[in-house]
């Protein structure tokens, strides 16, 4: 894919340096879809916040030019939650990998979903660690052989969708990086959704995990039918269990629930960062200590 020339015209607002990913990397599809989605949503690069994790996915920080915080490995979600609380008027998007989100920072995923923090988490799921040159990711299949598991992986894979669904996420979706149009729609829906959104994106690592390459996913993924009831949690849980032979893509679950900042009276009128902090009156606070 010729990323730069193909996308430069419509996506120039968000265009950073040309990617250093391997040719054929699944990340190109996500990168392109993100820029298209941002443009279609008319987001402005300086009026949003993109929080990157660490990995090949996180390296998008230099290729996608928007206000961004390239966080620590595994910690993009809490960083994003902090940004959102401080300025809930900003759209906040997390770009992270499967190791970031389901391994190193697994705990944060659960709690951000519980809190229904209004952030959109886009996870690059390729079942392998690319940047560290090929060890199993938490989504790798049982038995997967890699540099860290030469005898085959003993654990069963994490189930990202089931995890998010059972922890209270209000938008759970799955995409495939080769289907740019579909993925763009998913990203737009995720950003438009008020609440915690997880979009798990299959994004083949052609270098370190050819076994789960484009053909693997193309043969397995199917789009959820138009009459699929995305408001049905039990149905969504059933879909989330389709992990190997047939794998659904699309919006698996969507519901409405007040977001974390809705419960904070401090934020009713202004964003936290808009408040004047220069002269708080302490006299009303000291009386109780006398």
């Amino acid at each position: 894919m010729n990323g730069q020339t193909a996308t430069a015209k419509i996506n120039s607002a968000f265009l950073g340096y040309f990617p250093t990913w391997c040719p054929g990397c699944g990340n190109f599809g996500i990168w392109s879809s993100l820029k298209t989605a941002f443009n279609k949503l008319q987001l402005e690069p300086d009026k949003m916040a993109v929080i990157f994790g660490i990995g090949c996915s996180g390296n998008m920080n230099d290729f996608l030019w928007a206000n961004s915080f390239h966080a620590l490995h595994g910690r993009a979600i809490p960083t994003a939650v902090g940004v959102k609380i401080a300025n809930h008027k900003l759209p906040v998007i997390v770009i992270a990998g499967d190791g970031d989100t389901y391994g190193e920072g697994g705990n944060h995923l659960l709690h951000a979903a519980r809190g229904n923090h209004d952030i959109t988490v886009i996870v690059h799921d390729n079942r392998v660690y690319g940047l560290t040159t090929g060890q199993v990711a938490p989504t790798a299949s049982k038995g997967a052989k890699s540099k860290s598991t030469p005898q085959g992986l003993i654990e069963v894979p994490v189930n990202p969708l089931a995890l998010a669904l059972t922890q209270g996420a209000t938008f759970v979706a799955q995409g495939f990086s080769q289907d740019l149009v579909h993925l763009t729609d998913l990203i737009m829906s995720g950003i438009n959704h008020r609440g915690f959104s997880l979009i798990n994106v299959f994004q083949p690592c052609v270098t370190f995990n050819p076994a789960n390459g484009y053909a693997f996913y193309r043969e397995r993924v199917y789009k959820l039918a138009g009459d699929y009831d995305r408001s049905n949690l039990r149905l969504a849980l059933d879909k989330s269990l389709e992990l190997e032979d047939k794998i659904p893509i699309g919006i698996v679950y969507k519901t409405e629930r007040p977001v974390y900042t809705d419960f904070l009276n401090q934020l009713k009128e202004k964003a936290l960062v808009e408040e004047d902090i220069t002269n708080r009156d302490l006299n009303k606070f000291i009386a109780e200590f006398i």
Binding site: D62, N67, L72, R75, G82, N87, Q266, I286
Partner: protein, 580 residues
Amino acid sequence: MIDFTVKIGGEAGFGIMTTGLFLGKIATRSGYHAFEYSEYPSLIRGGHNVIEVRISDEEVHSQGQGVDLLLCLNKETADLHGHEVREGGVIVFDNEKTDESKLMKPDRNIHYVHIPFSRILRENSLPMVMLNNIALGVLMHLIGADMEILNTLIAETFARKGEEIITKNREAATLGMNEAKKNFKIDILHKLEKKSVISPKLYITGNEVIGLGAIRAGCQFYCAYPMTPSSAILHYLASKAEKAGIVVKHAEDEISVINMALGASWAGARSMVATSGGGFALMVEAVSLSGMTETPIVIVMGQRPGPATGMPTWTEQGDLHFVIRSGHGEFPKIVLAPGDVGEAYKLTVEAFNLADRYQTPVLIMADKYLQEGHQSVEKFEIQSRFDRDRIDRGKLLSQEELLKITSYKRYLITDDGISSRALPGMKQSLHQANSYEHGEDGHTTEDAGERVKQVDKRNRKEATYLSNDFRLPEVFGAKEPPLTVVSWGSMKGPILQAMKESGGSFNYVHFSRLWPLDFGKLKEFLGRFGKFLLIENNSTGQLGQLLTMATGIEFPQKLLKYSGRPVYPHEIMVKIKELL
């Protein structure tokens, strides 16, 4: 002169701490100074808790040796602390709980007062929660305090629960007072008469005063995971969050805590976190992230004895080197260590300004001793600061200033090492905070030249701090005494108390700014003193080691205590006598 100590002991969960708090407030409202010290195990119910309140005419900086009035609400109090009672002192006991014959020591001049707490509860069908009111009533009589002050305190405390509850609590206190009058007729302790002129005092813990300082400093986001001894900052700020305009978040773990705070800070909110050693260990990677992304943050590091889980509810100063060296890689950080509640207020406000000015982590080191004990401080001392407190956000750009910059660079190379900060959401703010090494525009770089420039830029902040904000340690006491005590943080209290009680046979060099240190200035400064005694609440003399590394000056004389208990003034006096 009034200077006495009341110690109250009982089973955890039965209001021992509240009894101590009320007693301290009664003293300060009567015009006296008070200092509280508590010991309790890491249990919720059933353990043995004690609280000591020292009440004095004069400013009191620490707990003292010995007890004048021991109130035993369980057997352990009598067994474990009976010997601490001074000659002429009083032991209050309940003969249903304590074996009278074993308690009484005929060779000692101690007044034993039997108060049948259990029977009073039983006969009046009072629940266990009323025990502390009965105990307070007894104390009111024994120390000759004004019952009206207690009645007012009860009314304030239970205002929301209604008249009936207030009356019940007051009645229980009266039962205690009457029983004490019946059984104890002579005046032994000084009468705590209400003074005619009372300068209002705050009776406040280190945790609460750090909370107050944070509110005043404009803290907008406070994030924490509970951990002794810092949990009460979370409790205090959570209870004031809406009123103060702060968002308080109890996050899932300390890693999340600090990363959330850094996210909020990057977005422009003044942010603080607090924890203890174990929690801080989890935060350390993000301390380094703060240094690299140049994102301001204030971290309260409340020490307790380690390693590992250690002794959670006890005190120690064992983390100085850990904190100063925390975080992988090289980056500047600022470490402060207040010695008492007044200083804790001041340094908390300052910490936020320093964090914004230097765009780097600022740590406030405290400990269980300072954080959990109540101390009286003149209301004026805190209040008079309000006018002087100012919010300095350093090189944080306003929207107008940002629009004047043609091509904004977040990590612009500057002489003082500090670059202007724009916030996401501002027009033309486009930038990234980058955990990777980066060039001036924030983009990742591995270029040798750019790397060196950025490292040098960050390091220059330390030089800027040393020339603009470094202060030499404060010196307390006589000009040229034969001995100089050197210490830091919360040990200030016991040292000043010892100085007072020993009539000023030494002076004290108090370190409340621990990092960065101006080695040259310090060497010259310390060179002015003669013989040193190093006092620290740890086993290795960490400040001493640091100063020796920095200046070559050695500290052969040491008083180090690491039993989980603070240093006592009398231990200092004994050591000083040995040396002089």
